[in-house]
């Protein structure tokens, strides 16, 4: 009778099924994130932090749809620690509501309170997957091309200056652990065979030189919305470039009727007033290029954001300068943040330039920032 009860134990260490399907779930969540990227990247909680913190955006896990009751419209049964009288409040909407719904048979099916979290990095990785510096020319090297040493190997022989202290110590400890002697004074002796050296290989330096000229309209006509959109664009642009390209310089130019160079921090925080003369910043950019970034050696990417409310008399000059900018650059981005349905005069003026290197975008809604990023950097 008793032998029908068996206790056993198996090796389950190779059992991965749960993890495999978990990975699939994660993939599907990422697909959803991708579809919502336009909305997610303009989230204040990200833009207003410096992006270094690991911002987490709550992201509902994939829902498993089924025909189910509306939990807000039905009676539930609960259990109290004391007698409850009608009218007593159990909790408020979000906080307790979800917990409260799990009544009746214990677990209400389809109740999903669990939220996957998307870190800033996840988001950046997904976002930047599709972005690149367009028309990048590898041949544009610095005038003095140099080979870069790369420490990527450890050997037993080498220059004393390059001794790898950590590995050498480890070797010493290992050797003494193997040898039977356990004398205390022997403990930290380093013998010649313990020595390990870092060695390097020289690699040709393939890095290319690129410079981004970020130009932003800070005139009085740029309202809260316009500024926010422009900053969001530049925020992601800067993050993207820092993550993907080591050797990209960035210069920040702010302008109203006059242009000046500002620091990165100023660029993202300060607002000004006054009219708009876009030619001023184009001229400034051209001067900068002429002085510091010869097009023969640099990939140049000017990106300009404005509300397009340019002084009419300036349009002709702006067009002329823009044409010159396009000629010396790999790609020029021009973004207009408009809440009307009309194209501004500057935009229609710039449309006369047919060069595909000039990329014009109009942003009317928050979630179009993502499209704009893709248009300029692809």
């Amino acid at each position: 009778m008793a032998d029908d009860i068996i206790v056993s134990r198996d090796d389950w260490s190779l059992h991965r099924k749960g993890y495999l399907d978990q990975t699939r779930h994660k993939e599907k969540v990422e697909e959803v994130i991708k579809r919502q990227l336009g909305d997610l990247i303009v989230d204040e909680s990200i833009i207003l932090t410096d992006g270094k913190k690991n911002t987490k955006i709550p992201m509902r896990s994939l829902e498993e749809f089924r025909f189910r009751y509306d939990l807000n419209k039905k009676n539930h049964t609960g259990q109290g620690t004391k007698k409850m009288v009608p009218g007593e409040i159990l909790g408020r909407e979000q906080a307790k509501g979800k917990g409260a719904a799990g009544s009746g048979a214990g677990e209400e099916p389809g109740q999903d309170i669990y939220e996957a979290e998307v870190t800033y990095e996840d988001l950046a990785n997904i976002l930047f997957e599709e972005l690149k510096l367009p028309n990048l020319d590898d041949k544009k090297r610095p005038l003095i091309a140099h080979d870069r040493p790369e420490f990527n190997d450890v050997r037993k022989k080498g220059l004393m200056a390059n001794v790898d202290k950590k590995r050498t110590l480890l070797e010493s400890i290992k050797r003494q652990a193997f040898s039977q002697k356990q004398q205390k004074k022997d403990r930290l002796r380093i013998s010649p065979e313990d020595l390990r050296f870092k060695t390097w290989e020289t690699r040709p330096n393939f890095e290319t030189n690129a410079v981004i000229l970020a130009m932003m309209d800070t005139s009085g006509s740029m309202g809260q919305f316009e500024k926010y959109i422009a900053r969001t664009f530049f925020f992601w642009m800067v993050r993207f470039l820092r993550l993907k390209y080591e050797n990209v310089e960035m210069r920040f130019l702010a302008h109203h009727t006059e242009a000046k160079e500002v620091t990165e921090a100023e660029f993202f925080t300060r607002g000004e007033s006054g009219g708009t003369r876009c030619s001023s910043v184009y001229q400034y950019a051209l001067d900068l290029i002429e002085g510091e970034y010869p097009p023969a050696h640099y990939n140049i990417y000017p990106v300009h954001f404005t509300d397009g409310d340019n002084i009419g008399s300036d349009n002709g000059k702006a067009l002329l300068l823009m044409q010159r900018l396009v000629d010396v650059s790999r790609v020029v981005g021009y973004g207009e943040i408009l809440r009307t349905h009309y194209s501004s005069t500057l935009m229609s003026t710039l449309k006369q330039i047919s060069d595909p290197k000039l990329r014009l975008v109009t942003i009317r809604d928050r979630n179009e920032v993502y499209v704009a990023l893709k248009t300029v950097f692809s």
């Binding site: 025909f67 109290g80 009608p86 048979a105």
Partner: protein, 494 residues
């Protein structure tokens, strides 16, 4: 390690003897000690082997995370098969395992004797293994995306099978070969419909229920042969002739079977997937509808069994601690272990053992609550009804009958809305017309719309669902994935 296993083995034998001595009657049990990963996988999939789907991965992730964060812990998992499989969490202490083993025997006793489990196949592990293999083959053959898309849709309606084909006399097996003949089905479903209302009554209706022709045993294999190419005129012509007086239209409760047989656009392998999910749904349904009574039963017995064992002081203390954790009332919801064990203990005061065993044989959650949740228990457990009033969750009632009735209401149809098929050629365009049998609770509209478009994916053509929202009769229609809504009554026909 070996010693530990040997010790556990002899303990399991001893406890089995004690349990049998007390009257429990269970299948042979294979205990296996497994690491948390494995246990939580089984918990998420409901089985040691099951087909692959992201929703299981999601469940696994949630459960495993809670375990890793020390928020919850599953000590064991029992599979309803013969012999039964019970998995014990690696790292359980000996005294914990003693309690768990007693708990397991009581569960297996319940599986073996409760009438709602009488038709669950006892070789389900192998069957589900075969299902998993089939679906894997389909993935290789037709692509993972397509299989996943089909599964997404089928799993969304997996509850909508005719669960009552599990109980009652086995007579419909005689009819099963004819299941392909649509006319036959129609007439039978219609006659048997006399008692569909009683289905809600749970445990005691088994006698008068002529369950429908669709037995789970007839399986999808036969039904798959016909289907897609059926000329619908024939089908519905027959049906109309057979129409009976009791109802204007026959209602089909088994949405999955209906799709297997009549969905115009499904490929054979997709029908097979619907059949697989349907079979597994039948297997799980009794567990859904006996959660409180079964957990209560197992808790009731593990406590009694432990009292029979020789425990030292430390063990007794640890047992008491663990037992009280298991039956800890949860503040806002209902702990099925607690509610269940309280009712059983209450019954044990006034009833004889044979009577208790009879209840475990013939009842499910619904009848258990309806028949045995008394005013004293509602009082003692401080049960109450609550609902959302404005932004607050507010206590609405505490009269015992209202509490009982609300609980019963929630258990009807396993807690799922009842959706029936009224028509398979809606508007003469081969559309599927579904009706939600509104019993006081409105449906979640967002979920309704999403689910409807999944049904539409399976059906291939127009799908309509009639329901009641805020006391108004509403019809949702879904064609080509987009859902529209209109009120029925006022804008009856265009």
């Amino acid at each position: 390690m070996v010693n530990e296993m040997r010790a556990l083995n002899s303990i399991a034998q001893d406890i089995a003897q004690v349990a049998r001595g007390m009257g429990l009657d269970f299948y042979p049990v294979n205990f296996e000690i497994v690491p948390a990963e494995a246990l939580y996988t089984f918990g998420a999939y409901g089985m040691p082997v099951r087909f692959t789907h992201w929703s299981f991965g999601k469940a696994f992730y949630r459960m495993k995370t809670q375990y890793d964060l020390n928020l919850s812990r599953i000590y064991e998992l029992v599979i309803n098969t013969n012999p039964a499989y019970a998995f014990l969490l690696e790292g359980n202490r000996l005294i914990q395992n003693k309690l768990v083993i007693g708990h397991v025997y009581a569960h297996v006793d319940f599986f073996k004797n409760n009438c709602y489990f009488s038709r669950t196949p006892k070789d389900m592990v192998e069957r589900m293994g075969a299902h998993a293999e089939k679906i894997r083959d389909y993935e290789l053959k037709y692509g993972r995306e397509k299989v996943e898309q089909t599964l997404d849709a089928v799993l969304a309606i997996q509850e909508h099978v005719d669960a009552r084909s599990h109980i009652g006399p086995n007579r419909k097996m005689k009819n099963s070969p004819k299941i392909n003949v649509p006319g036959n089905d129609g007439s039978q479903a219609c006659k048997s419909h006399l008692c569909t209302e009683n289905h809600a009554c749970g445990g005691n209706c088994s006698g008068n229920c002529t369950t429908k022709e669709q037995s789970k045993g007839d399986s999808q294999k036969k039904t798959r042969t016909k289907s897609a190419s059926l000329p619908y005129e024939d089908l519905w012509g027959d049906l109309l002739e057979d129409e009976c007086e009791c109802l204007p239209q026959p209602e089909y409760e088994d949405l999955l079977l209906y799709i297997i047989k009549f969905a115009p656009g499904l490929e054979e392998w997709q029908r097979d997937i619907v059949g697989i999910v349907r079979e597994e749904s039948f297997y799980f349904y009794p567990q859904i509808e006996t959660k409180i009574i079964n957990e209560g039963w197992a808790t009731f017995w593990h406590a009694r069994i432990m009292r029979e064992l020789d425990l030292n002081d430390a063990e007794a203390l640890e047992f008491a601690l663990m037992h009280s954790q298991v039956v800890q009332p949860s503040r806002m919801g209902l702990n099925p272990y607690y509610l269940g064990v309280k009712i059983w203990e209450y019954l044990a005061k006034s009833k004889t053992m044979p009577e208790l065993f009879e209840i475990r044989e013939s009842e499910n959650d619904l009848s258990f609550i309806r028949n045995h949740l008394t005013s004293e228990l509602v009082e003692e457990l401080n049960l109450f009804n609550f609902r959302k009033v404005g932004a607050h969750w507010q206590v609405t009632e505490n009269e015992w009958e209202k509490v009982r009735d609300n609980l019963v209401q929630q258990l009807v149809n396993g807690g799922h809305p009842r959706i029936v098929v009224l028509e398979g050629d809606y508007e003469g365009k081969g559309g599927l017309y579904l009706k939600h049998c509104h019993e006081g609770s409105d449906l979640d509209i967002v979920y309704l719309e999403k689910t409807l478009s999944l049904v539409q994916f399976l059906w291939g053509k127009l799908v309509g669902l009639e329901t009641v929202i805020d006391t108004k009769k509403v019809l949702y229609e879904c064609a080509n994935g987009s859902v529209s809504r209109r009120q029925v009554g006022k804008t009856e026909e265009k």
